[in-house]
């Protein structure tokens, strides 16, 4: 068994509005909002590192779970924008938490990395105990704030999220998950030589078809349908994409928690930042199924189902 016990997050204080960004990329604030649903995003300070902001989200999550780092059995860190590729930020975060031997593994998958982390954590928790999943990204350093870089520059922001998956206790039980990879389409979305490359049309085409398909497959094999889901938590890629997924599932968009307007697309961090905000705003216990879904580089995508206790 595996349970979701707590979430955490950390966002840099610097806000970058559409009005500030628009002249740099030869766009208008209104156009940015229309094509993305984003009003502002956060940018890390020069001194921030992916591991550093991941640590802050990890500490926030441990505090909410009322746990110390020494009680963790494993750490999984998702990031596509880490400062160093190998080793990535996982071992740095573990060391900064004071851990000398706890396994800490990197998941270098932008956007979908946190979902992969949650899915793996649920499978590993029965033997590892408590698994801390972190998603941390400083995407502002991977995009070009120029007219040529407009299509990615308007979307991305920085931040970190975390989740604690526990073998014994939590507020919801992780019932099932599914993960998929389509390497033949990997060129649609990749980070290389420090820069992020995205074929926006291809990504939207793939994501708007693959995510609903994954969610429906997961629900069907658990004898559920989309209308029974209480809340959907998706990677905050683009508000228009979330609307497409909602429409494909024939589900009201109100069931999809979103915070992309305030943080932009924080890649693999976004799912856990959204989960933390959603959970912090919950005044009553979850009454129905909770579905997570993400899509990212690889291409990797999938969904995870959590059920009330």
């Amino acid at each position: 068994m595996a349970f979701l016990r707590a979430f955490g997050s950390w966002l840099p204080p610097r806000r970058v509005s559409n009005s500030e960004l628009a002249p740099k990329v030869d766009a208008t604030p209104e156009w940015i909002l229309e094509v993305s649903g984003i009003e502002e995003r956060r940018y890390a300070a020069d001194a921030d590192t992916v591991a550093g902001i991941g640590l802050l989200a990890a500490q926030n999550c441990l505090e909410k779970a009322a746990l110390t780092a020494s009680e963790l059995g494993m750490i999984l860190v998702a990031s596509g924008s880490s400062d160093r590729f190998c080793p990535g930020p996982a071992s740095q975060i573990a060391a900064a938490l004071g851990l000398a031997s706890t396994p800490a593994l990197d998941i270098p998958v932008s956007s979908a990395g946190s979902l992969i982390g949650l899915s793996l954590a649920a499978k590993l928790a029965p033997t590892a105990g408590r698994v801390l999943v972190v998603g941390a990204e400083i995407m502002s350093r991977r995009v070009s704030l120029t007219p040529e870089g407009k299509n990615t520059a308007i979307l991305f922001g920085d931040g970190a999220g975390a989740a604690l998956v526990d073998a014994d206790t939590g507020f919801v039980r992780i019932a099932d998950s599914c993960l998929f990879t389509d390497g033949a389409s990997a060129e649609a979305l990749f980070l290389q030589d420090g820069h992020f490359h995205m074929d926006g049309s291809a990504v939207i085409l793939h994501a708007s078809r693959k995510m609903p398909r994954a969610i429906n497959e997961l629900l069907t094999r658990n004898q559920l349908v989309a209308s029974q889901v209480e809340t959907f938590l998706l990677h905050q890629a683009n508000l228009n994409l979330i609307a497409r997924v909602a429409a494909a599932l024939k589900t009201p968009q109100e069931k999809f928690f979103t915070n992309i307007a305030r943080y932009g697309n924080t890649s693999s961090a976004s799912l856990l930042i959204a989960a933390d905000e959603w959970h912090s705003g919950q005044n009553t216990a979850l009454a129905g199924p909770l579905v997570f879904s993400a899509f990212g580089s690889g291409l990797n995508w999938g969904a995870l189902l959590a059920l009330p206790l």
Partner: protein
């Protein structure tokens, strides 16, 4: 071009515009498609022509002119 009329019908439905571009004009430059309308266009083609478009074919380049779409659909028959 065998399927031009039916392709235009799908285009008009997903774009909400009655524009009729040349068969080799970019559907993106002409304003009929954007990244999100492209998704609806592909789904609309599947419904209109009774075909399944596999994920391996999900590239904007395959669907950015009427002539390319027509050739693609002809190859699916």
């Amino acid at each position: 071009m065998e399927s031009e009329g039916r392709i235009l019908k799908v285009l008009h439905k997903v774009s909400g515009k009655e524009l009729s571009p040349g068969v080799d004009d970019s559907l993106f430059v002409s304003g009929l498609l954007d990244s999100f309308a492209l998704t609806d266009f592909v789904t609309g083609l599947e419904e209109e022509f009774g075909v399944t478009i596999p994920d391996s074919d999900l590239s904007a380049r395959k669907f950015d002119t009427i002539s390319k779409v027509d050739a693609y659909l002809a190859a699916k028959k």
